[in-house]
Amino acid sequence: MPLTHEIELEARTGTQIQPHARALLERARKLEALPLEGLAARVADGLARLRLTYGLEARDANPVRALLAALPRTELARRATDLALELEAARQLVLDRERSAAEVDRRSESLKEALRERSTDLATALARADEAVSARRDLDTVRAQLVEAAREHDRLGAELARALERARAVANELDAARNRALELAADHDRDLASARADRARPDPRIELVRSALAATAERELSRAQLAELERAAAVERHGAIDAELGQVRRERDAASGELCRLQAESELEAAQHRSTIEGYERALVNDSRNAETARRELEWRRREMDALRAESSGLRWKLLGGDLAARIALWDSEAAP
């Protein structure tokens, strides 16, 4: 059995229904039992009156009435169902949006994490790039040094080539001399042969040939010595260049050290001078003060001496005056009967 309205109210709110309320509750119940369109029309009429009471302009088409006119009860029910469906769809939409939002949040977190990792990798890569740039600079320095060394090598090579050229020229000359010597030797041989034929008489030309042969052997020896000297000269030149460079560097370092030392000494000396000057300045200020004090004291003593002089002068006059008064008193006493 369904609960009555009154019992239901009491069960829900625990409120007593007092007798004086029953008439109005009964009226409310009757109104609620009216067809919905009739109740709404009654409300619409009352609201139109309320508009007029408040001095508001009447609606040309009151929204409640317009709706009532346009929608029969079945249509109202259908609209209510449609609205309920729309409400449910909207609720589902809200739920979907919430889920999407949660998914977006999750992705956002994931992206943030990935971004953090990328940031770390990027920092590492940047550090490596810095190292590479530094290495590249070192490489360029080494390469420049190598180029300089190659230039030096080329220069030395050119000098060596020129020396060799000169050596070749000397060798050619020696060959020419040898050829001439050989020709001479042949001549000598021929002459020797003729001389052998004439053994009985020693020939001075044979001595000349012998000495020429001796000169040839000496020239051969000189050529080998020249090549050896040239190699030694090249080695010595390299060594001399290195030694000179080292010497220049040492001198530069020594000059730099000396400069620093001289600078420090000069600064120290300047500080001492400054200190001395400040001492002099203080002493000068003190002397000025002392001089001023002495001047004032001198002035004061001069004034005091003038005062004493004046006082002594006054006293003298006073003393003379007193003496005169004593004499007058004596004269008076003597003249008295």
Binding site: T15, A28, L36, V43, G46, L56, P63, V64
Partner: protein
């Protein structure tokens, strides 16, 4: 020479409809408080046409003092033949009051020690027309609040505001515990259109405030409410009816009136589309009551 403080006795008026259980629990602490004051306060229980033999029960449970010297406050019963609701009973009790100050108290209200003296002191200010204690509900909340929202007056749960110590102006004084001057209360009365249901006390408070008087809450005075008052609206239709009547009676600003009518039309349309007949009935009841004004 010490200053003589004038004694201001109070007539406590309790509208009662078949609430013996509440009175059995809540009268003793009230009588203890009045006995401590010992200034000749009185208690008037207005039996609002109930059938529970309240008069004889009170005569038996709270007998008159045995001697005239007893400080115990006298409890007397005023019986209405026909039930008319707590507002009407309150005014009847005030008319019968013997003292110049009247404390309206719901039978569901349980006073805490020392609650009355601060209330009486608050009425020393002649501009204060009514003083209400801090009312504490079982859930810790205070009185419901009325708020203007989207063109309609809405009722929301209030907060306890237990930290306040100063007397402050209140939105309204509840009939559950309200101290006023007898003559001013009787002269103003409660608007009969709000019966049955509640908000008659809000209506009276707002009427007073619009006349330039002050309605205050005294936080150092505390009264507990153990359950909903009997005057709570017995249906949604009646609750909406009274809320609309209160709105129409006190809504003066033209722009708010316009906003309100538009909001109410929209609400009626929504109720129609959703088939909420009780809401339409509530609006119709309010319109009927307003038309008969």
């Amino acid at each position: 020479m010490p200053e003589v403080v004038p004694v201001k006795p109070v007539s406590v008026v309790i509208p009662a409809f078949e609430c013996r259980a509440d009175l059995a629990a809540n009268l003793p602490p009230l009588l203890d408080e009045l006995e401590r004051r010992a200034v000749g306060d009185e208690v008037i229980v207005v039996d609002d046409g109930g059938d529970d033999g309240l008069e004889s029960w009170i005569a038996h449970t709270f007998p008159p003092p045995a001697t005239f010297d007893s400080a115990r406050a006298d409890v007397r019963v005023l019986r209405r033949k026909k039930n008319a609701g707590p507002a009407r009973s309150a005014v009847d009790g005030a008319r019968a009051a013997g003292h110049g100050l009247v404390l309206l108290l719901g039978c569901e209200a349980r006073v805490r020690t020392g609650f009355l003296a601060p209330l009486v002191a608050a009425l020393d200010d002649a501009n204060v027309v009514a003083a209400s204690p801090r009312i504490v509900r079982p859930d810790g909340r205070g009185l419901p609040r009325l708020v203007w929202r989207n063109g309609l007056l809405e009722i929301e749960p209030g907060d306890g505001d237990a930290n306040a110590n100063e007397i402050t102006d209140a939105a309204y004084a509840s009939m559950s515990a309200l101290l006023a001057r007898r003559d001013e209360l009787v002269a103003a009365g409660f608007d009969a259109r709000f019966a049955p249901g509640d908000l008659a006390d809000v209506d009276l408070s707002w009427t007073w405030k619009r006349a330039g008087r002050r309605v205050v809450i005294v936080p150092t005075s505390v009264v507990e409410i153990a359950r909903s008052a009997d005057s709570a609206p017995p249906s949604r239709a009646l609750e909406l009816r009274n809320r609309l009547l209160l709105t129409w009676k006190h809504l003066d600003a033209a722009d708010r009136r316009h906003e309100h009518v538009e909001a109410l039309e929209a609400r009626a349309l929504e109720a129609l589309l959703a088939g909420r007949a009780d809401e339409l009935a509530g609006i119709a009841l309010a319109l009927e009551a307003d038309a008969g004004r």
